[in-house]
């Protein structure tokens, strides 16, 4: 099944913060799902065009660290360049350390056309575990908002 046809994230319950479950066929797919999930928390993604591309990179000692670091990079780009995102392409390599190369697709935030959602303070490691269920990898991620 093509990854783009599978729902790659869902929003879960959390009392004070925001939690999503992201999934994908492999680690790269999971990271893409997580980026899309976070993009949807940041802004109403239905109205976001993919006119601009921004490349970000991250590394990590574990897949979980890679996930937190990559989302942290996306957050940093969002806050410092005021860009909101609709999708991302992700490639993962493992040369001893895990590395992700990610191309973010989005556009500059325009208050006349976009409504921002959560002011995400950070991506947390709380209860973060990447797990395999059948042929898919998934992870629950808590964002501090």
């Amino acid at each position: 099944m093509l990854d783009c046809l599978v729902v790659s994230y869902e929003i879960l319950e959390h009392t004070a913060d925001v939690r999503i479950r992201a999934s994908g066929n492999d680690l790269a797919g999971l990271l893409r799902g997580a980026v899309r999930g976070m993009a949807c928390l940041i802004a109403v993604t239905n109205y976001v065009e993919g006119w601009e591309s921004v490349a970000v990179e991250a590394s990590g000692e574990t897949p979980e660290e890679l996930l937190v670091h990559l989302l942290g990079e996306v957050l940093y780009v969002h806050y410092t360049r005021r860009i909101i995102f609709s999708d991302a392409g992700v490639e993962v390599t493992d040369d001893g350390a895990l590395r992700a190369k990610c191309t973010l697709h989005g556009e500059a935030y325009d208050p006349a056309r976009h409504e921002l959602g959560y002011d995400i303070k950070a991506v947390t490691y709380h209860d973060l575990k990447i797990e395999r269920a059948g042929d898919r990898l998934s992870a629950e991620i808590v964002f501090d908002v």
């Binding site: 009392t15 660290e65 942290g72 806050y79």
Partner: protein, 463 residues
């Protein structure tokens, strides 16, 4: 106690609150906190405890200042998030008719909303001033009065900030966010003193029935968020090196007396001072807005800072343990310092009654002013609750709010609300929170902090 717990946990709650507390993972998180090296006596949960990340929100842990650890997650991403209360010389009658104009003016002048920047652009020199002086830097630059500093926790200054310990990213994210409210549960409220529970203490705090006040809730914005993000990774590196394993990675920590611990404390101090500057500027913008909307002078407004408390913080304090005075690092994650009368760290103006404790509630039912009591020093490392505590998740609150016009519902109750996002108001609606009154009654009955006054909101701005 479970296997790895070094100390027990202690929870302050009523039967009803305890039933709700058990509904999520907050108590598991309290158990996790009791695993932290160097923790003393017990891990404490306040009655507003709820599920956070790493530490529960409403959690308190005192670490041995020599052997213990410092945990960025025990402070939170929003370093020195806190609340300040300003009293005015106005009564409800003075603002009731022009209330909409007043709230609109506040909304226009106070930058708010996700990632929103303000008019102040901080240079390197400004940052150095903030790190070296805290809130006094804001006063020196025209945002407030010298007298304001007297009634800020620790006079709005935390020593030891080192720019070298702060990442370029943190500087970049913080450069236009001093004097901005933010989003989520942060707010600026126009309140009326609705009920007084303790006449003499209320008088000492300068509060009287019918008086208009302003309550401000914000923190260190992107500057603090980035510092916490940076140092959680630093701490994870430390833990790997030292072979330290904890039940939740989000509790990442390092010994206070280690390069990583010292580095975090130096950056943390910078963010603590930044947050005090932020709230100082926000109060100045509120004063300006009142004068602009009501056509009055600052002298007529008589905007006086009652107090400014931190509720995401770590403080080095002396506390009695086994009959001896011991220096500990008290982590207050969603918890407020509550020192009693006579304590040397209570501002002189309040030393005869105790430190004001500010407990924001929800935007419908109001907030509370309390005063620190001796029980806090005896039992909770001088600490009290910090708010109402969430009851509904954000997704549930959104479902509850669907189809309802919450702005009109609140306006019918005499509360004018303005917010950047409609979703924010649904998520933050009164039904989403526990009753702050019940939370306050628990700490009152436990002798930790005494109830002084209740504040009723009449105007709210949110991000």
């Amino acid at each position: 106690m479970t296997g790895g717990m070094l100390v027990p946990g202690r929870v302050y709650a009523s039967e009803d609150l305890l039933r709700r507390i058990r509904e999520d993972k907050a108590l598991d998180q309290l158990v996790n906190v009791a695993h932290l090296p160097g923790i003393k006596r017990y891990a404490v949960a306040m009655p507003d405890i709820h599920w956070g990340y790493g530490f529960p929100i409403g959690g308190v842990a005192a670490m041995d200042a020599k052997e213990g650890v410092i945990s960025p997650g025990g402070v939170g991403y929003d370093i020195n998030c806190g609340v300040r209360l300003m009293s005015t010389g106005l009564s409800e009658g003075d603002v009731r008719t022009p209330l909409k104009k007043l709230v609109k003016t506040l909304f226009k002048n106070v930058p708010c909303g996700p990632g929103e920047g303000g008019k102040i652009k901080l240079s390197d020199k400004d940052y150095r001033g903030i790190f070296g002086k805290g809130a006094a830097w804001a006063v020196e630059n025209g945002w407030g009065e010298e007298a304001d500093l007297e009634t800020i926790e620790d006079r709005g200054y935390f020593p030891g900030a080192d720019p070298e310990a702060v990442s370029k990213r943190a500087f970049e994210r913080g450069k236009d966010q001093a004097g901005t409210l933010g989003s989520g549960n942060h707010f600026l409220e126009v309140d009326v003193v609705d009920e007084i529970y303790d006449d003499s203490v209320a008088e000492a705090f300068g509060l009287k029935p019918g008086q208009v006040c302003v309550l401000i809730h914000s923190g260190s914005r992107g500057f603090g968020h980035q510092i916490c993000t940076d140092y959680i990774d630093t701490m994870l590196g430390y833990m790997r090196r030292e072979g330290l394993v904890l039940p939740d990675k989000q509790l990442a920590c390092a010994r206070i007396d280690s390069p990583e611990g010292r580095g975090y404390l130096a950056a943390f101090a910078a963010a603590v001072n930044y947050a005090w500057v932020n709230r100082q500027v926000l109060m100045h913008l509120a004063r300006k807005s009142f004068c602009e909307a009501l056509g009055i002078t600052p002298r007529e407004l008589r905007g006086k800072l009652v107090y400014d408390v931190s509720h995401n913080i770590a403080k080095f304090e002396e506390h009695r343990l086994n009959g001896e005075s011991k220096k500990v690092c008290v982590h207050r994650k969603g918890a407020t310092r509550a020192f009693p009368k006579g304590h040397r760290l209570v501002p002189e103006a309040y030393r005869g009654v105790g430190q004001p404790v500010l407990i924001p509630g929800d935007m419908g039912r109001g907030s509370y002013v309390l005063v620190g009591l001796p029980g806090a020093l005896d039992e909770t490392f001088g600490t009290c609750c910090h708010g109402a505590g969430r009851m509904l998740s954000r997704t549930k609150a959104l479902k509850e709010g669907k189809g309802r016009d919450l702005f009109s519902e609140l306006e019918n109750k005499g509360i004018i609300v303005m917010a950047r996002g409609k979703k924010t108001v649904a998520e933050e609606m009164p039904d989403a929170y526990k009753d702050a009154g019940e939370v306050c009654r628990v700490v009152h009955d436990a002798g930790i902090a005494g109830m002084v006054a209740r504040l009723r909101p009449i105007g709210v701005i949110k991000g």
